[in-house]
Assembly symmetry: C2
Homo-oligomer: 237 residues x 2
């Protein structure tokens, strides 16, 4: 395991403290979520946890969770107790960018359905302001995607249609993604509100005010960001 | 042709006055739009109009327009000159509910891309306030649609999953529709803004502040609603 992988595993294990016997758990997508799935499966197999069911946020997570022996359910009206997911950037105020993995729409549905939304990643995902390194991914309808890109650019970003190996990338929902590079000092709340209003947009990767806590694994252990006072970034556990 | 059909045709023909030689035209979906397509095709065939291209808002409109000999293009970055579409309800202030036909998402993309958005229908679609008769259709992702219905109901409506003949209805985009019955006196702008922010929502049928003019065909001819002073509902042409 590389050092970065080790940091992700540390954060994933810390996040699993929020899962209690009988919890309905939203399972995120990506490299840190993979450690969550693996460890949750182990705890179930070894009897450390009981009565868990989980809602997967992607086809990939669905497969991994089945392989790990985690009982899966569809997302119901009542939501989930806790969702655990990775992110591409998180601020000391717990605002996040997600979606470089492409599952932003389902991840946001589950995060919004969770009584507790827990982020976990390696420490390189901590930023002082959003957009420092990551673009804001925006999932759009295939119909009119060129026009939707033009409307996004009118909001002041640079929108690039995501491709993988020359092919148009599509999400599990069958939609393309526009990666929107935002200028330094952009107003994330204003941008999110404007994108929410744009016809043709299915979901965007700004998760503002949604997370209740974030765990960042790094060389000094796990740093915890909590709500209030802009986080306690100086408290490795 | 029934009387109501005749009224729709009257409105459709009035709306076509906004199409000029060389226009790129957004073609709506539904029973009034069918008259727009038929008459536009006739004018092109008989040389009354030249140089038109059109963007269809549904697979059904795509087929009908091809049958009518109208040259079709994909929606480009530059949008369209004029979009003509029907609606389920329109107020004297030109706010509308659309989407009982199921094409709301594509119709909204095209309406928002139009320099001029023209509504046409029979006179029974005129209402004093939105929600009098029609529910607000909301297209949602299949993933988590039960949870999305619960969130919509928290906004104060009654959400019913649309079915056709016992089968789950899905749009051209492959998504289900929740028909949201709103209470008398609901605040359309506040509801629209709240729905825009909900994860899992692809599009909703509130078209607020988008139309520039509406034509309502009825027993006294065509009544025109224009912007400013709440419309001139007393001016049959």
């Amino acid at each position: 395991m590389s050092e970065l992988e080790h940091f992700k595993a540390l954060a994933a294990h810390a996040a699993l403290a929020h899962v209690r016997p009988g919890s309905v758990v939203g399972l995120g997508t990506g490299s840190t979520a993979a450690f969550v799935i693996e460890e949750l499966g182990r705890r179930l197999r070894e009897g450390e946890l009981r009565g868990i069911t989980a809602v997967p946020t992607s086809l990939a997570t669905d497969r991994a969770a089945r392989d790990a022996g985690i009982p899966l359910v569809e997302l119901g009206r009542e939501g989930v107790d806790v969702a655990i997911d990775g992110m591409d950037e998180v601020t000391p105020g717990l605002d996040a960018i997600k979606g470089l993995g492409g599952s932003l729409a389902r991840e946001k549905v589950v995060a919004a359905a969770a009584r507790e939304f827990v982020l976990a990643a390696d420490h390189t995902k901590g930023v002082s302001v959003l957009g420092e390194r990551a673009p804001v991914p925006v999932e759009v309808l295939p119909f009119g995607h060129r026009r939707t890109a033009a409307l996004l650019e009118e909001l002041g970003c640079e929108a690039t249609l995501r491709r993988t190996g020359g092919e148009l990338y599509v999400t599990d929902n069958g939609n393309p993604v526009l990666d929107c590079a935002v200028p330094a000092g952009f107003d994330a709340h204003a941008f999110a509100a404007a994108v929410d209003r744009l016809p043709g947009v299915v979901a965007h990767g700004l998760f503002l005010g949604m997370a209740s806590i974030a765990y960042l694994g790094g060389p000094d252990g796990v740093v915890t960001i909590t709500r209030g006072a802009g986080g306690d970034g100086a408290a490795p556990s």
